[in-house]
Amino acid sequence: MQSAAHLQFLVREALVDSEQAGRDLRELLASHGVRNSAPAFYQMMARLEVAGLVEGRYDQKLVAGQNVKERRYRVTKAGERSVDATRNFYVARFAAARPVRKGSHA
């Protein structure tokens, strides 16, 4: 049984293709209707970092003439394996699932 929560799976799947900033990941979650507070989101990312599934770093950038730091994340090899395992698990379960017929549960 896969232990990854759906939010963690969503974040890691978004990071498989490219490195992304925390702000962008939050916008991605918001597009799926998830509106956690910023501290709650970065706390979840910190837990993923501690688990070794993602890596985070600060990136210095110039915005409107001011230097600001941005937290950027990328998925690790272990994170990629975890995403693949989770995806395969749900694909297999979906393929094995029988279609629900109308009125069969009555």
């Binding site: 925390g22 702000r23 910023a38 501290p39 709650a40 600060y58 915005v63 001011q66 600001v68 730091k69």
Partner: protein, 317 residues
């Protein structure tokens, strides 16, 4: 950029989530504020700054709510409460174990406090020392009454020595007597301790000098209340000790915690009647300890103790 405000709010965030949650969250806010700070007006910049400060403060408060320690402790407390509620037998055993353990500890500590820690219930407990007779091996032991009397006379006026001996006796009338601890004391005992009488009077030196006079006793406040019903006319009433009749001359207040004795009597007044015939009557017969009173001559307690030892050693044999 309000760096000082951010630093202050950062201190509000718990250290456990400060680096992981607060710093990147506030960087997001700052980045958004910089990107949208396009208003040229002074009022717009002021409003944007206030908005940013408020949001940083909200982030700090959200970090406090995220603190894992607080959340975990509250959650664990709820789990413990639910488990105890669902297992009444286990809860009862836990409560019973705690009650027995706490009760036993409280009882032991009460005795230790009464006998070892709490100061003597006398006006000047620091001015009292225990004295004894010095043995050849350097130990200090109890001494005889005659040795005490010679030492007391030789030590005056620098020291005031009082003697006391503990024993058990049958107290009360013959048909209803009970074994209780009593203390045989010298006439100056209460004066040395500085204890005041609650009723009547206490023993005095005159009770020592009156050889074979009518025996008198001072009862403790606890004995007065528990056995004599706290009657107001207790002074002058008889009390029987080992079958001999003693006259109650007073009640000592506040000494029962220290002395824990039911009655006190003078050595000179009734030593033949209270089951202690040998005590304090022959030189060399052990039986009495001594209490030394401080005198206002500026000498320290160690000097008193040394002086008492010297006095006792000089009278041995």
């Amino acid at each position: 950029m309000p760096d000082r405000w951010i630093a202050w709010c950062r201190r509000l965030a718990p250290p456990s989530v400060r680096d992981e949650a607060f710093d990147p969250s506030v960087e997001d806010l700052v980045q958004a504020a910089c990107a949208h700070a396009t208003g040229p007006g002074r009022l717009a910049r002021l409003a944007a700054g206030l908005r940013l400060r408020a949001r940083v403060l909200v982030v700090a408060l959200q970090c406090r709510r995220l603190a894992p320690a607080a959340n975990m402790s509250a959650r664990e407390l709820m789990v413990v409460a639910r488990r105890l509620w669902r297992q009444p037998r286990f809860t009862a055993s836990v409560v019973l174990t705690l009650a027995l353990g706490l009760g036993a500890n409280l009882t032991v500590f009460t005795f230790v406090d009464a006998f070892l820690i709490a100061p003597l219930p006398v006006p000047s407990p620091g001015a009292l020392v225990r004295a004894g007779e010095a043995r050849e091996n350097g130990e200090v032991d109890i001494t005889s009454y005659l040795n005490y009397r010679d030492g007391r006379d030789a030590a005056r006026p620098a020291l005031d020595l009082a003697a006391h001996a503990e024993t058990m006796a049958l107290v009360g009338p013959a048909e209803a007597s009970e074994a209780r601890p009593v203390e045989v004391v010298s006439g100056n005992y209460f004066r040395v301790l500085g204890v005041a009488p609650q009723r009547g009077r206490l023993l005095s030196d005159a009770d020592d000098t009156a050889e074979l006079a009518h025996p008198v006793a001072v009862i403790s406040d606890r004995y007065w209340r528990s056995r004599l019903g706290g009657r107001t006319d207790v002074v002058g009433q008889p009390v029987f000790i080992n079958g001999s009749r003693f006259e109650i001359i007073g009640v000592a207040v506040g000494v029962q915690r220290h002395l824990r004795r039911a009655a006190h009597r003078s050595l000179g007044a009734g030593d033949h009647a209270a089951g202690g015939e040998a005590e304090g009557t022959d030189a060399g017969a052990p039986g009495v300890g001594m209490v030394v009173d401080d005198r206002p001559d500026g000498a320290g307690h160690h000097d008193h103790r040394g002086r008492a030892r010297v006095v006792a050693r000089g009278r041995r044999d």
